[in-house]
């Protein structure tokens, strides 16, 4: 219980600037710094440049002044969250604290992914390309529409994300990701890719069957909540990479750090899914003027 209380206090401390509080393992290491890995920063900048070019070209051709402003806003917000998770000191702090690592994963899967999906970036990004390439990609898009529909079917996308979430938290695989940067990249990519598929299925499938989307959100809230609760109530650290590091950046033991990580996965994660489900029901109720049949 004492550890739980300390973990809760540390959760509040995370709201303050991380670098100022971070002391690394055993309290002696330097504060975590920014991560400017070319394989992370390069694709991030390229995606922003690509989208901005497409957006500007489309805006110049559009007759409606405010067209695509909302999409651009969602995209920029999602991109900023991605950059916050992968480039700021939070990323390096995640190598010393499991709670910080969990926060990074939550930002990728619960914030950046839905914002990116809401922006529907592919259509705008295509405008950055020459007309011939756009047409060729459009034809390719028609060719892969069947597998795309299969991957973004709500049940398939939900199960894919659930499998990625649970498998990567198995101690053997998580330790592999901690020890090897290549596996770490694959872990983050699989979290982000499955989250994008999940949020695409849930948010863009809402017009069809809001009940199915809400059921998928509920299932995902329980699966991530169960994993988070397991971590929160476990008294032993699961991952050798963190267990061997002694006190983390907040002065927590590895077990307390893990309990905090579990709480982050359990409570804020569940809230995001619950709020998304409520927003979808609210939207559908407004659309149907108070009459709803969730399974139509």
């Amino acid at each position: 219980m004492k550890g739980f209380a300390r973990a809760s206090v540390a959760f509040c401390a995370m709201a303050s600037p991380f670098a100022a509080r971070a002391h690394g393992a055993h309290g002696t290491a330097a504060a975590p710094g920014w991560t400017f890995d070319a394989w992370v920063v390069g694709p991030l900048l390229l995606s922003l440049l690509w989208y901005a070019t497409g957006y500007l070209r489309l805006r110049n051709r559009s007759t409606v002044a405010a067209a695509h402003h909302a999409s651009a806003g969602w995209f920029v917000a999602g991109w900023l969250v991605l950059a916050t998770a992968l480039v700021t000191p939070l990323h390096e702090a995640g190598e010393r604290s499991f709670a910080a690592h969990m926060l990074e994963h939550e930002l990728l899967m619960l914030v950046a992914a839905p914002l990116m999906v809401l922006s529907r970036p592919i259509g705008i990004a295509l405008w950055a390309l020459p007309q011939g390439v756009r047409r060729a990609l459009g034809a390719l898009g028609h060719g892969i529409s069947a597998p795309w529909r299969a991957l973004t079917a709500p049940v398939t996308a939900t199960l894919l994300q659930a499998v990625a979430l649970w498998l990567w938290h198995a101690p053997r695989l998580f330790d592999l990701a901690l020890a090897d940067p290549g596996w770490h990249v694959i872990q983050h990519l699989s979290f982000l890719a499955t989250a994008l598929l999940f949020w695409w299925a849930v948010l863009h499938g809402r017009e069809r069957r809001v009940g199915v989307s809400v059921a998928c959100l509920f299932f995902t809230a329980t699966i991530s909540g169960a994993l988070g609760a397991l971590m929160a109530f476990s008294s032993s650290p699961w991952y050798a990479g963190y267990a061997s590091s002694g006190l983390d950046a907040f002065g927590l033991t590895p077990a307390e750090d893990q309990q905090l990580a579990g709480l982050l996965m359990w409570i804020p994660g569940g809230l995001v899914h619950a709020l998304a489900a409520l927003a979808m029901f609210g939207r559908r109720l407004r659309h149907d003027r108070g009459h709803i049949n969730a399974f139509d």
Binding site: W166, L167, H169, A170, P171, F219, T222, I223, A226, L230, S234, S236, W238
Partner: protein, 108 residues
């Protein structure tokens, strides 16, 4: 002495089986691990047996639901509630199984 009519319990089957199976799984695996982590070896076996019991209970409730076309029937309402409870208890058992699959029992 009047014998109980088990047919009356059909709509409740999912709820009763779900509660019983999830409770037994919790006692036999999750609680026992605290005393001796070697009980974790039985996680998969007990979990699958619990899921089977829940599935059978759910099927009985489902057949009872199909047999009640009257939407205002109390038995139909109970059968629907039992089916929803079946899903929740199945999820509860499933997460217990998953925990045993990805984590060594002595680590918990």
């Amino acid at each position: 002495m009047k014998m109980p009519n088990f047919a009356e319990l059909k709509p409740w089957a999912g709820l009763i089986a779900g509660m019983g199976a999830a409770g037994l799984q919790h006692q036999l695996v999750s609680d026992s691990i605290h005393f001796d982590c070697r009980y974790g070896d039985y996680d998969l076996l007990v979990g699958l047996a619990a899921l089977l019991v829940i599935a059978v209970g759910g099927l009985v409730s489902w057949s009872s639901l199909r047999a009640q076309p009257d939407t205002d029937s109390t038995r139909r309402f109970v059968a629907q509630m039992s089916l929803m409870a079946t899903v929740l208890f199945a999820l509860m058992v499933l997460w217990g199984i998953m925990a045993g699959v990805i984590l060594p029992a002595c680590l918990l």
